[in-house]
Amino acid sequence: MSPAVAVDIGLQLAVEQLLARYAHCLDDDRLEEWPEFFADAARYRITTAENLERNLPLSIVHADSRAMLRDRVSALRHANIYEAQRYRHLVSATLVERIDAAMVRAVSNFAVVRIMHTGESMLFASGRYLDRIRLAGERGEPQFEERIVVLDSRQVDTLLAIPL
C-alpha cells in the first residue's frame, strides 16, 4: 500500500476543517467563540521554539482550562488597552496522526500577518501548532484537548493581544 493511500482522507479533512474554522474565527474577530474550540480542561500555551528546545516550561500565554481562555477574551474586550488590529492566519502542511479511536495528534505550520488600523501590515508570527484533538468533542465536533503554539522566533513585536 503506498503512503498516499494510507492517509485517512476523512480524518485529514476533519482536522484541516477544524484548523480552518479556528483561523477564521480569530481573523473575523469572533473572539467570544474562540474558547469553544477547546475542551473544558484543555491546555493552551504560546511559547517559543527556544524555550521548547531548552526544555524550559515558561509560556507567553498559559491556560489550563477553557475558563482561563474566556478570562483572556474578557480582559481583551474590557480591560486591556491596545490599538485596533486584525490577524490573517495562513495555516498549512498539516500532518495528522491517530492516537486511538477518539484522539489524534496534529502538527501544522502557521504564519500570521498583523494588520494595524493604520494600514501597516507585517509578518507578525510564524511557527507550529502542536495539537491533541478529540474527534468527537462536546457537540460531536472535533475539539482541542491541547494546543501548543510554538513561535519560531523569541521576539514578539510590541504586544501579543489577540490569540494565535
Partner: protein
C-alpha cells in the same frame, strides 16, 4: 532625525521637564553609547544560573556592543566583546553554547573563555611562506574585556575603570531589595523578547513611573493587586538612577478615590472565571505583593506576587528597543510553586495582562512626539525633587532617572 545642537538645551525647569529631542536624536544615541553604556555604569548581563557549568557561555549586549559572557574551566565568569581581533567578526554566533575555547568562524583565530587571543591560524605561514611579520601585534586589537560584578546571582559588566563597586552603585536600600528577591539559588523557567517601537529611555520612564500603574493597567486595579491607595512606596537610590517601588498586601482602602476621580480603570464589575491565575503565596514573608526595581541604565528586577523575572533593556537604534525577559523561580521550588509561577506569568511579557500595555504606551509616546522635538514632557507629580516617598502618585523616580542620565551625559 538630528536636532541641531544649538537647540538641544535642557529646559530651564530642570528635572520636571524632559525634552522630546532626547528620544529622537541620532547624535544623542551615539553619545549614550559612549558615555552611558560604555561609561561608568553597570549593565546587567544575565543570571549566574544561565551559565551553571564550566564552558557555558551566552551572548548579550552592552548598549550596541555585542558581548560574550562565559564560565571558564575553573568556574570563574568572564565577559568580553564579541568581536575578533583580526577583522572584527562576531566570535560567538549563537545565543548560548558550551565549549572549551572559542574560535572565530572567519579565519579560525582562537580565544580562551576569558577572551584572550590564544592562537592565530598560520601565524608563521606554511613552510616558511606567508604568515604575519614577526613583530605583528594582532593582540593590540583584542576584544575589550569587561569588569564583572556578581551580586546574589545577578551578573553585571562595565567597560569603565571608574564605575564604583556594585554594592555602592546600587546604594544600600536598593541592594537590600535586590537581596530580598535574590535570596536563594534560582532556576530559570524560560524567556522571550518584546520588541518595543520606541527609544530605550521611554521604557525606563515607564518602569519608573509608579503613577501610571493603576491608571493604565485595568487588570491590576480591578483585582486589587495594586491600587495607589494601598500602602507601599518608592525608594530612590544610587545617584537617583536606581529605584524600587512596592505595594503591601491588602492594606489599602476599597479604592473609592478611583471611583470619585472617575478614572477609567475603576470598573469593579469585572471578575475572573478562573481566579487561580492570581492564587499567590507570601513566599518572602513580608506582605509585599509587588516590587519593581530598576538599576541605571537598563536593568529591571520584578516580583509580581510569585512571578519573578529580570528584564534587560537593550537599545536597538533611536526608535527601537529589545526588552529581554527571563523568568525564574528558586532551585528548591516544589511543583506547585513552579505551576503557580507559570500561571502568574500570564501577567507579564508581550501578552501579559499587565505588561502588554507598557509596550503599547511607550510606542504611543514615540509617535506622539514625532513633530515636537522642542517640546517637553511634564514630570511634576509628587513635586519637583528626587527622593523617596510613601505615595506612588508620584514621579520622583522618573526625575531620579533623568538626574542620573544628565550627569552621565553632561547635559
Amino acid at each position: 532625525m538630528n536636532v541641531p545642537p544649538e537647540t538641544r538645551a535642557w529646559p530651564a525647569e530642570g528635572l520636571t521637564r524632559v525634552p522630546y529631542w532626547i528620544y529622537q536624536d541620532e547624535d544623542i544615541y551615539r553619545r549614550e553609547q559612549e558615555l552611558i553604556f560604555r561609561g561608568a555604569t553597570w549593565t546587567f548581563l544575565g543570571l549566574e544560573a544561565e551559565l551553571p557549568g564550566p564552558g557555558d557561555w551566552k551572548t548579550t549586549f552592552v548598549g550596541d556592543m555585542p558581548v560574550v559572557v562565559a564560565r571558564d574551566a575553573n568556574g570563574a565568569l568572564h565577559a568580553f566583546e564579541n568581536r575578533c581581533a583580526h577583522r572584527g567578526a562576531l566570535l560567538c554566533l549563537k545565543s548560548r553554547g558550551n565549549s572549551k575555547e572559542i574560535a572565530c568562524i572567519y579565519h579560525n583565530w582562537t580565544y580562551d573563555l576569558a577572551g584572550n587571543l590564544t592562537a592565530v591560524a598560520f601565524r608563521r605561514g606554511i613552510r616558511g611562506k606567508g604568515g604575519m611579520p614577526a613583530d605583528a601585534e594582532p593582540e593590540s586589537q583584542a576584544p575589550c574585556k569587561l569588569r564583572l560584578a556578581t551580586y546574589h546571582g545577578l551578573v553585571f559588566g562595565t567597560l569603565s575603570a571608574k564605575t564604583p563597586p556594585i554594592e555602592a552603585y546600587l546604594g544600600p536600600e536598593i541592594a537590600a531589595r535586590v537581596r530580598r528577591v535574590m535570596k536563594a539559588p534560582v532556576r530559570i523557567l524560560g524567556g522571550y523578547s518584546q520588541m518595543l517601537p520606541n527609544n530605550w529611555k521611554l521604557y525606563l520612564d515607564n518602569v519608573k513611573d509608579t503613577y501610571h500603574a493603576s491608571l493604565l493597567h485595568l487588570f491590576f486595579t480591578t483585582f486589587r493587586i495594586n491600587r495607589l491607595s494601598q500602602d507601599g512606596g518608592v525608594i530612590v537610590g544610587g545617584d537617583g538612577g536606581n529605584h524600587v517601588s512596592f505595594t503591601l498586601r491588602g492594606t489599602g482602602t476599597r479604592g473609592e478615590e478611583y471611583e470619585q476621580a472617575g478614572v477609567r480603570s475603576a470598573r469593579d464589575g469585572y471578575r475572573l472565571e478562573a481566579p487561580e491565575l492570581l492564587e499567590a503565596v507570601d513566599e518572602l514573608g513580608d506582605g509585599i505583593t509587588l516590587q519593581i526595581l530598576a538599576v541605571f541604565p537598563g536593568f529591571v528586577l520584578q516580583q509580581i506576587s510569585n512571578c519573578l523575572a529580570v528584564r534587560q533593556v537593550i537599545p536597538k537604534g533611536v526608535g527601537r528597543t529589545e526588552l529581554v525577559w527571563t523568568c525564574f523561580g528558586y532551585a528548591d521550588d516544589d511543583d506547585a510553586m513552579t505551576a503557580r509561577r507559570l500561571r502568574q506569568a500570564n501577567l507579564i511579557g508581550p501578552a501579559g495582562f499587565i505588561s502588554m500595555e507598557d509596550g503599547a504606551a511607550t510606542g504611543f509616546v514615540q509617535r506622539g512626539v514625532a513633530g515636537a522635538p522642542d517640546r517637553s514632557s511634564v514630570v511634576e507629580m509628587g513635586g519637583r525633587e528626587v527622593g523617596s516617598d510613601p505615595s506612588r502618585v508620584n514621579e520622583t523616580s522618573v526625575r531620579g532617572f533623568w538626574q542620573a542620565y544628565r550627569r552621565h551625559m553632561g547635559l
